[in-house]
Amino acid sequence: MPAAEVQVPRWRETVAGPYLMLAPAVLLLVVMILVPLALVAATAFTDWHLGGGPPQFVGFETFRTLLEDQDFQIAVWNTTRYVGLVVPATTLMGLAVALLIAECGRGQALYRMIFFLPSVATLAAMSVAWQMLLSPSVGAVPQVLRLLGFAPGNWLQDPHAALPALAMIGIWSEAGFAMLFFLAGLKTVPHELVEAIALDGRGSVVDRLWHVTLPHLAPVTVFVLVFSSIHALRVFDTVAIITRGGPEKATLVALYFIYQEAFSLFRTNLAAAATVLFIAVVLALSLVQLYVMRLGRSR
């Protein structure tokens, strides 16, 4: 029988359908994210100030000005110090709490809830609470220290102690996430390895920890480090509520610097340039995170 040469009349899978479903998302992505991204990148290469005249292209001049700006340098330094204080501590605390909680049969849910609470609590509101907690006149911490015989300083007003104080609040706020991720990782520790080690006669807690648990948690740890770093970089709420960049710029962090430049000083192009650099750093970290996630999944 000769093959039919007629083209099959295809029923038309409406091409319109999928594109209609994509349209709102695509439109919004472009308008709300891609356009602003382009805008901020473009502004960084001009001399534009909000409310000023039309922008002029100035090449890398703005970046040069930015890098030489003292406040910017302070902000970079402060942010780096902040991240350096928060990330290791958050990771360690998260790990420690997770290890402790994982062993508890009952009460796990309760502990999980309590230790994650700070991550859910509105940081702006909790910043006020922390301010009270640390305040030498009203706070519990200074009072306890006084009882113990120490003389507490006014940390939040002290240029040397302000950033560490904010770091402590940051750790308090972020450790919950680290704990959750570690808890999830601990659930996947392969039982056979634990049993094998016990059979080898080295079933003590420390051995188990060292030989099985921690190596298994290595990818999760890297993930937590990167995740915490990205979050720590974005510190803003505590600065905005408690210290407002002070005292003496001790807590001037990246986002607060940008905020000030953009909305107080109206040096829009500088703010834009700083934003570009900020995005670059976060982008680099996020790529590391994606890479680690891929590695972790292929295990």
């Binding site: 709300m32 909790m126 905005a240 953009a262």
Partner: protein, 275 residues
């Protein structure tokens, strides 16, 4: 006492101690919110207030500033954002996961780029755009930038990918229309992912301080965190009792929700982390 017993006790001891420390800011704030003004600054440490003032501080917080209004704004804005995010992300994620039309790779790339950009970095250009569009100090200005959630699209696409194609084909053979398949079959099937997204979005946008403080200029449109900022500059800012009462009331809704639905919360957050 056996070493296992001892270890267990020690563990609980440490955890309970840690729990108290972790809750300390909250507990301290609660304490101060029930203190009369004279007690707040008293140099002696007393656990209990010298006189019981009941909810006086709370009442003052409510009258001295439009706190309930802030909370209402928070609810309005968050609900609007979440609804919009779902309406936008669900169809988009479905197409990205299941359709075979040209251009999807480009769009997916755009989603990934958007995923990586920190929202705070867009505050400046979004502000400029909002100013041009006359959306400063409006609900639209608070809501619109967040109606598309790259994370949401990412998560939902993952979830859709896990639905076997055969199920969709069976539904087509049964005679269901594409929209019906999506809404009545697929959305219920990916409800854990949707739940996780709702929670993540809720927490993130209720607690957001940066964008509201950029786009809102008057108290009328303030969301809860920005409301806290406004407290500080008002008279109430020096009155610690009511100040903390106000701050607590602002943090309370999410905390209560969290305590009530903590299973959902934590499972959602863990789920996010494992992806």
């Amino acid at each position: 006492m056996t070493s296992a017993r001892f270890a267990r006790l020690a563990r609980h001891f440490v955890l309970v101690g840690g729990a108290v420390l972790v809750l300390l800011p909250l507990l301290w704030a609660i304490r101060i919110s029930f203190l009369p003004a004279e007690d707040v600054f008293s140099p002696q440490f007393r656990l209990l207030p010298s006189r019981w003032i009941g909810f006086e501080n709370y009442a003052r917080a409510l009258t001295a500033s439009p706190l309930l209004h802030f909370l209402a704004n928070g609810v309005l804005v968050c609900v609007a954002i979440i609804v919009c995010q779902l309406l936008v992300a669900i169809p988009c994620a479905y197409v990205l996961a299941k359709a075979r039309v040209p251009g999807l790779r480009l769009i997916w790339l755009a989603v990934l780029v958007a995923l990586v950009v920190p929202p705070a970095a867009l505050a400046l250009p979004l502000f400029i755009m909002a100013a041009q569009a006359g959306l400063i100090d409006t609900y639209a200005g608070l809501i619109l930038p967040w109606t598309v959630s790259p994370l949401g699209i990412f998560l939902l696409r993952q979830a859709f990918l896990r639905v076997p194609d055969e199920m969709i084909e069976a539904a087509r053979l049964d005679g269901l229309g594409e929209g019906e398949i999506l809404v009545r079959l697929l959305v219920p099937m990916i409800s854990p992912a949707i739940g996780a997204l709702v929670i993540i979005s809720l927490v993130s946008h209720w607690n957001d301080l940066l964008w509201p403080s950029v786009v809102v200029t008057s108290g009328a449109k303030a969301t809860p965190p920005f409301g806290v900022m406004l407290f500080q500059v008002q008279e109430i800012g020096s009155d610690y009792g009511p100040l903390l009462a106000g701050a607590l009331m602002i943090a309370a809704p999410l905390l209560v929700l969290f305590v009530l639905a903590q299973r959902r919360f934590l499972d959602g957050m863990t789920w996010l982390g494992s992806k």
